[in-house]
């Protein structure tokens, strides 16, 4: 057991060092008045917290935080400050008192309560000993997925994930309502289109090389999700990043002819429909909503060749396998399409145009 203890101490040291870095970053963001610096620091903040999450044994969350916080959030934030004033107004010291009081009061309550929690890393704490432990014991058996996080996400708490997919869809709807679909996109500027294109030849070649690889990686993450970290959400963001990279290098107009805004909107809606449709199919076949055990009727299930996923000897939960597969596909559709829609909305908003009032 002594080996495990020293292992823990090294972990704790890394853990606290990373948290200290996060505190410094948060302070830097609070103090800087340069918006660009604040945004880039926030990207760094997300990246460092992703590293911290890996130390905390949460690779799935780390993956998501990295693609979302350091990737999409930063892009969207940069899109929002295009050509605005780069500096925030200085806030007077007097104006900082009330916020500081609120923050300190909240923090004091949190610390007061947190000191009452079981020790950090305690395996017998209620949080770790009750439902969480049960998942570890039964999830693989129930669903056949090695990654318990995927099993819980897609199966036990699949309804939460449906809600999460819906939230993303709602965000896409919201951004499209507020900013449109990028129909006001300026014609590709000459710099990008190639009038002085020799400046960007390196970027174009690199992008041509990278975009297929990124898309391929997205599908790897998608279909590897029940074995390792990853899943529909991460894959969707990565797929969207491939499209966004294309737009950054080749111009928005060019990308919009390849991936039409109406197409993106349709796919986003179809993803949620696919997810909830799976739930309804389970009902029609006699189970409850999202009860993948009833995804297939007995006749269909009997026709699935036992060696479909290799390993013919092992028992399979075909309903769970395919249920998770299909809903992750729905998540992928919605997330990728919505991220593209959001990007179109921001990038297509020409900064000169005044809103019609």
């Amino acid at each position: 057991m002594s080996g495990a203890i020293s292992f823990l101490d090294a972990n704790l040291a890394i853990d606290l060092a990373l948290l200290a870095m996060l505190v410094v970053l948060a302070a830097a963001i609070a103090m800087t008045r340069k918006l660009l610096a604040a945004i880039l620091l926030m990207g760094v903040y997300s990246l460092v917290s992703a590293v911290w999450l890996v130390v905390m044994d949460a690779p799935d969350v780390a993956f998501t935080e990295a693609v979302v916080g350091a990737g999409v959030s930063t892009i969207v934030l940069l899109g929002a400050i295009l050509l605005t004033r780069a500096e925030a107004e200085k806030t007077g010291w007097g104006r900082l008192i009330a916020p500081a009081l609120i923050a300190v009061a909240t923090g004091a309550l949190l610390v007061y309560a947190a000191l009452d929690l079981p020790s950090f890393g305690d395996p017998t704490s209620p949080a770790n000993a009750y439902v969480g432990r049960t998942y570890l014991e039964v999830a693989s058996r129930d669903t056949g997925a090695a990654n318990v996080v995927t099993a819980v996400l897609a199966s036990y708490r699949g309804f939460d994930t449906l809600g999460e997919t819906t939230v993303i869809f709602a965000a896409g709807v919201g951004v499209a309502l507020a900013l449109g679909f990028g129909e006001r996109a300026a014609p590709a500027s000459r710099l990008m289109a190639g009038a002085t294109g020799d400046h960007n030849v390196v970027l174009r070649v690199a992008a041509k090389l990278l975009i297929p690889i990124i898309a391929l990686f997205a599908f790897y993450v998608q279909f590897h999700g029940d074995l390792g970290p990853g899943g529909g959400f991460q894959a969707g963001v990565i797929l969207a990043v491939a499209v966004i990279l294309h737009a950054l290098v080749f111009g928005l107009r060019e990308t919009m002819t390849a991936v039409k805004p109406s197409f993106a909107r349709g796919v986003a809606a179809l993803g949620v429909l696919l997810y909830s449709g799976i739930g309804v199919v389970c009902i029609v076949n006699g189970g409850g909503f999202l009860d993948y055990g009833h995804l297939f009727t007995a006749e269909i299930e009997a026709q699935i060749p036992p060696g479909l996923l290799g390993d013919p000897g092992a028992t399979h939960h075909w309903g769970q396998h395919f249920g998770i597969f299909f809903i992750e596909l729905g998540v992928l559709f919605t997330v990728a399409a919505t991220m593209v829609t959001i990007f179109y909305g921001f990038a297509g908003r020409s900064p000169g145009g005044e809103a019609k009032l």
């Binding site: 660009l36 295009l82 500027s189 009038a195 400046h199 390196v202 970027l203 990278l210 690889i213 290098v249």
Partner: protein
């Protein structure tokens, strides 16, 4: 022999980390955009390569090594391209190097003024100093 490999790998990884640290110091200490990009990109690529090589040695022959090699190939494409994009953006927004501006730059400045003049909207703020995210500026 097999015991030595992880040790060598660890040493290489630590060397890589130190290289990246050097790069970070360089970014803070160097005088202008171009030299800073130089410091950051070279050490990043080199440091990451060393680290990945070290990790490969630790992992031995396994799927992990394959993944590491793929990640390395990815870094070898993206890091230089990103550095190029940064330098390009700095160049096209008229940052002159610390040692003084080049003649070609002054010419292209005039050209750019002619070309992009009418496109600049009324809200175009003053040019921001420091490196910019490439591309986004241009839509």
């Amino acid at each position: 022999m097999t015991d030595a490999l992880p040790l060598v790998g660890g040493g290489l990884a630590i060397a890589g980390v130190l290289l990246v640290l050097l790069g970070a110091i360089g970014v803070l200490r160097f005088p202008d955009v171009y030299t800073r990009i130089h410091a950051a990109s070279i050490t990043d690529t080199g440091g990451a390569s060393l680290m990945i090589l070290g990790l490969c040695l630790i992992a031995g022959l396994s799927p992990i090594t394959l993944k590491l090699v793929i990640a390395w190939a990815f870094i070898m494409v993206t890091c230089p391209a990103a550095a190029h994009a940064l330098a390009n953006a700095a160049f096209s927004s008229g940052h002159s190097p610390w040692i003084g501006s080049f003649r070609i730059m002054r010419e292209s400045d005039e050209q750019a003024a002619v070309q992009t003049g009418p496109q600049t909207g009324p809200q175009t703020g003053p040019k921001k100093p420091g490196p910019k995210k490439p591309g986004l500026q241009k839509q």
